[in-house]
């Protein structure tokens, strides 16, 4: 028996508990009423969605899975994953900011931070008063994160950080940056993790990248010009930084998978409605097999990806390893999102190519899910390594 058949007290059960159902329904209603109606406007203006994040913070979604003792909402990973789908179905830009906040800085501080660090940095993140950012990627180190060059030098009871990060979600908007920098020799073991507050002298931000999609989620370079932080800003042990970052990325990938699924579901909903109304050759589009079978495949891809993502979330809740499942979910969900949104445009015909309709935005927003938090190729690397490890004896 391989690791893909873990045993649990309860066998397979796909129903949500009452709490889960009420919460997801509530978040769906909220997102439909408050988030979705403004998504197109934010996409056009590229304004950072502060108000939207504040509203979600009031519900508890900026610290969704953190324990209430740390001002979180105390949700399990499955419920949180379904909430992310709802947010993403309404606005994918908002969803990625929420996913980064919950999945990366908060998880890193919860799992590896000291109580003093949690008190000071985790609480305001959990309450959504602060926005968090995760700084791993550099212009020369993307997929090959272990090769990052940014340095942190010890100077008395402080660390001095020098170098630049690239592609940082919420750069310039975030208050708390979790930064991976080299404190030792080359390779993964030479990297440590630091907390850097926005107002530290020497910290600066590039202009938001002009991206294909996710316009409201700002992405910038972050430059550290001899930024001094006190020694207590080190998270975990010296040399543990990459382990901390990569462990959080496992959870983050479930988040991105759910973001992709949310985007895809929105596209499916729009396509199904449109196909039921639009007529050509005297028939509704959905009466053409060429259209209805496309819709069937779209639904099938979404359902399959969602099940794997929820399984990864469930494994996480059970305290079981879930890295492989998280990577499978991210791979399947992001590919499904790109294909489903492209098919939705096809079903909309010329209207699909127009900004008057939502599906072109969904397509633009979907593409990046195959790239960030590990490209599809990197997911395949992770999955194949796990498979080979399972069959190595």
């Amino acid at each position: 028996m391989t690791a893909t058949l873990p045993a649990a007290d309860v066998g397979m059960r796909f129903a949500l508990s009452d709490d889960q159902r009420l919460i997801v329904q509530h978040v769906r209603d909220y997102c439909r009423a408050e988030i979705a109606p403004r998504a197109a406007e934010y996409d056009r203006s590229g304004e950072f969605p502060r108000g939207q994040l504040r509203g979600l913070a009031e519900l508890g979604l900026m610290g969704a899975t953190l324990p209430e003792a740390w001002d979180g909402a105390g949700l399990d990973s499955v419920t949180y994953a379904l909430c992310l789908e709802e947010i993403a179905a309404a606005d994918a830009s908002v969803a990625v900011i929420v996913s980064v906040q919950n999945g990366l800085p908060e998880q890193m501080l919860l799992r590896y931070g000291t109580d003093a660090q949690r008190e000071r940095y985790l609480r305001p993140l959990a309450r959504g008063e602060h926005i968090g950012a995760f700084c791993l990627t550099e212009s020369g180190a993307g997929s090959d994160a272990a090769n990052l060059q940014m340095r942190a030098e010890r100077d008395g009871d402080a660390w001095v950080l020098s170098g630049a990060k690239a592609w940082i979600t919420s750069g310039g908007q975030a208050d708390t940056y979790l930064v991976m920098a080299r404190t030792g020799g080359p390779g993964a073991r030479g990297v440590s993790c630091f907390i850097v507050e926005k107002d530290r002298p020497g910290l600066s931000f590039g202009r938001p990248e002009e991206k294909m999609g996710l316009h409201a989620a700002h992405t910038t370079t972050v430059t550290f010009d001899g930024v001094r932080v006190p020694a207590e800003n080190l998270v975990g042990e010296e040399g543990q930084g990459l382990i901390i970052a990569l462990a959080s990325l496992d959870a983050g990938r479930i988040g991105i998978a759910m973001q992709a699924i949310g985007i895809a579901r929105a596209a499916l909903e729009h396509a199904a409605r449109y196909a039921a109304e639009r007529e050509q050759f005297g028939k509704k589009l959905r009466e053409f097999e060429g259209v209805s079978f496309k819709v069937a495949r779209m639904a099938a891809r979404i359902e399959a990806a969602r099940l794997v993502a929820l399984k990864a979330a469930w494994l996480k809740d059970q305290g079981q390893p879930y890295g492989k499942e998280a990577s499978i979910a991210k791979l399947l969900a992001s590919e499904a999102a790109v294909d489903v949104t492209r098919d939705a445009i096809q079903i909309f015909g010329g209207n699909g190519y127009s900004r008057e309709y939502p599906v072109e935005r969904l397509y633009r927003d979907a593409k990046v899910t195959e790239i960030y938090e590990g490209t599809s190729e990197i997911q395949q690397l992770v999955i194949s390594r796990a498979v080979f490890a399972e069959y190595s004896d």
């Binding site: 919460i23 978040v27 508890g60 909402a73 105390g74």
Partner: protein, 253 residues
């Protein structure tokens, strides 16, 4: 003092309802707390948060088991406990007022908040009927409320504007849009709501049988006239359109 707020569960405004067997079929429709009742729950919470000596806020609902969801929403918003009079019978407003009045007396409440209008029946009788049974004053269509001791003050709409009022409790108040902006429950409060008391009651105890019986239902459909205006002469076409809008459709003056 205690406040009683009535909660009704109705189809979501965007839900597509079906008719089967002459009755509205809610199978598959999204059901929510009546928006009018959300104003009532929110106002009760605000009166307490505003410093009034409100000991307890109780939510009351009648209806089938599913109505629990609406009560849970009220509990998640901040109501202290809930009473569910479980029945599959649809109660008309007059029958319902019998339940509301009796619960109000049994619970010793001094303020009752009900929706000014019901989203499904579209009736405005519940507040008035409840006040009549209890012999309490009623303030309808309120858009501002404040409590000081046992005195309720506020403003409400009347036919030709609005007036300010002052009334000693007990009283029945009906809500309307604009009274407040109802809060969304937080996720932890949704989970905690499950631990709050939700008492079940049977309808028998209240002797509140509906006297109105629904014998049939129809979905209102609007027939399209598909009237075409010949556009060859734009001036004449515009004039004809104006005439139709003014005299036939009566949508412009």
């Amino acid at each position: 003092m205690k406040i009683l707020t009535l909660v009704r569960q109705v189809p979501d405004a965007e839900a597509r309802v079906k008719i089967s067997g002459g009755q509205v079929d809610l199978e598959g429709a999204t059901l929510v707390m009546d928006g009018m009742d959300e104003y009532g729950v929110e106002e009760a919470l605000r009166l307490r948060e505003g410093g009034a000596a409100v000991e307890e806020i109780v939510a009351l609902a009648t209806g089938p088991k599913r109505v629990e969801d609406a009560l849970r929403t009220a509990l998640a918003m901040g109501v202290d406990r809930a009473i569910h009079v479980e029945t599959d019978q649809a109660l008309d407003p007059i029958a319902l007022s019998r339940v509301v009045a009796q619960v109000a007396q049994a619970e010793g409440v001094s303020l009752i908040l009900v929706g000014g209008q019901e989203a499904d029946w579209d009736s405005q009788a519940l507040g008035a009927a409840t006040a009549e049974r209890l012999g309490w004053p009623q303030l309808t269509w309120t858009n501002e409320l404040a409590l000081e001791g046992d005195t309720l003050t506020g403003r409400h709409d009347v036919d030709d504007g609005n007036e300010s009022f002052r009334v000693p409790l007990p009283a029945v108040v009906t809500t309307q849009q604009g009274l407040n902006e109802p809060r969304y429950p937080t996720l932890p409060n949704i989970m905690k709501a499950k631990k709050k008391e939700l008492r079940k009651d049977t309808l028998d105890a209240y002797g509140a049988a509906p006297t109105v019986r629904v014998v049939g239902s129809d979905i209102q459909t609007r027939a399209r006239l598909n009237k075409m205006i010949d556009g060859k002469d734009p001036q004449a076409a515009a004039a004809e359109l104006l005439d139709l809008l003014r005299n036939e459709a009566k949508v412009i003056a």
